[in-house]
Amino acid sequence: MTVVESEAVVLCACDYGESDRIVTFFSLEWGLVRAMAKGARRSRKRFVHAFEPNSVVQLGLGRRRTLSWVESCRLVEGHLALRTDPLRWAYAGLLLETTLRLNPENMPSPPFYTLLRGALERLGTDRDPANVAALFLVRALRILGTLPSLERCVQCGATIEEASFWKLSLETGRFSCGAHGAAAEEGIALDKGSAALFQSMLRAPVEKIWRFRLRKGVAADVIHAVCTWVEHHTAQRLKSRRLLDRMANGSEGGTRFPRSSALIPSP
């Protein structure tokens, strides 16, 4: 048996057997990794606060063949700000879930780790959480190798300077100028400025992308398109989308007290 260490982000945890939990991390050293936390439900002291989603931890794993178990797990950053704002928290859920769905297990990707860690950090402070989520999703697809090149029109080779409108289709993997991105085709419509912004964002180092600001409405379109693609690609619904849609549609803040159902027994 060997014990190895890495910094990691906690994605999710579920109970296992009588006293254990299985925790899924995205780690700097090994990428997506699942590990058994022995006795995690019995002794609260041993792993206190260590398995909360969104937390950054210093993780010690025991490994033998294909089995991994948590030897130690020390909290580095709890990202408390995310909990105090349900909308930001819902976006964080989306980041974690897409990380979980898109990465194969035990495939290290330091750039993805830097991206995820940076996004969670930024999500707690940025004035526009949708912007953070959209930048994260696009850059994530680039790191995973599923985003087409945004340098030129796939058909005529025009550069971004040479056309006013662009279309990015994740389904077909095509990036085309207004003349060649057929109007009926599914995809994200981008004006010249937004296309140029994505181009610069993709060229920038991962840790420096958060200063890019998408035009109003573009972030929401991008999030919608990427989520739809992820669901299609993995044949699995993104559960966090439900809470996010609910939060983003302004249910918060309203103090409408519905005059209904108070005395209807639950089924």
Binding site: G78, P86, A90, M247, G254, T255, P258, S261
Partner: protein, 202 residues
């Protein structure tokens, strides 16, 4: 380990028991062997109890705690109408607070907490019912007693925001260093919370 040497009924029982929360195959086998050796009335009593549990216990239509009557004992008790509603995630939390004897008002059980990766949003919790109660009952204060976990905190903040403009006072239970605990062994999050929630001694 359950093998072919076990009679099918026993194997089936072990399989069913090991589906219970917190029960692995080892404990399930131990329980099955206990039932096998136990006097008949012990087993019959348990079976009858389980049947009655499913038949008689439902959730209280006002606070969503368990009850075997029309209302739970707390909602039915007029002396608990103090104008305070303590909001908890589960009935287990309610029972823990009741056991402490520290709260004399009524409760509202949300039946969960916001959980993005499980797809649980506000519509899946008893939030509309809480809002109706604020309209219909004479409520002065809502005490948010969801767990100090990510999910519980997010749920508390969601409710706080929802009730921002309502006339009721909204409070959150304190969290920090446990009684009998030790500052030097507390983790970062707990310490941060404990300092944020500090108050004057005099």
């Amino acid at each position: 380990m359950v093998t072919k040497a076990h009679p099918p009924v026993l194997r089936e029982l072990v399989r069913r028991l090991s589906k219970l929360p917190g029960i692995g195959e080892k404990s399930a086998t131990r329980l099955a062997m206990f039932f096998l050796k136990a006097p008949e009335e012990v087993v019959e009593g348990l079976v009858e109890n389980l049947v009655r549990l499913k038949r008689d216990i439902r959730t209280c239509p006002v606070c969503f705690h368990f009850t075997d009557g029309a209302l739970c004992s707390i909602c039915a008790d007029p002396s608990r109408k103090t104008g305070e509603i303590c909001v908890v995630e589960t009935s287990a939390d309610l029972l823990a607070i009741e056991e402490s004897g520290a709260f004399k008002g009524r409760y509202h059980v949300l039946q969960g907490a916001l959980a993005p990766l499980d797809g649980i949003g506000p519509d899946d919790l008893r939030i509309p019912e809480l809002l109706s109660r604020l309209e219909q009952e004479d409520v002065r204060e809502v005490i948010l007693a969801t767990n100090p976990t990510g999910e519980g905190e997010a749920t508390a903040h969601y409710l706080a925001k929802l009730l921002e403009k309502s006339p009721v006072r909204v409070t959150r239970i304190a969290s920090g260093i446990p009684m009998g605990g030790d500052v030097k062994y507390a983790d970062k999050v707990t310490l941060e919370r404990a300092l944020q929630g500090r108050r004057s001694v005099l």
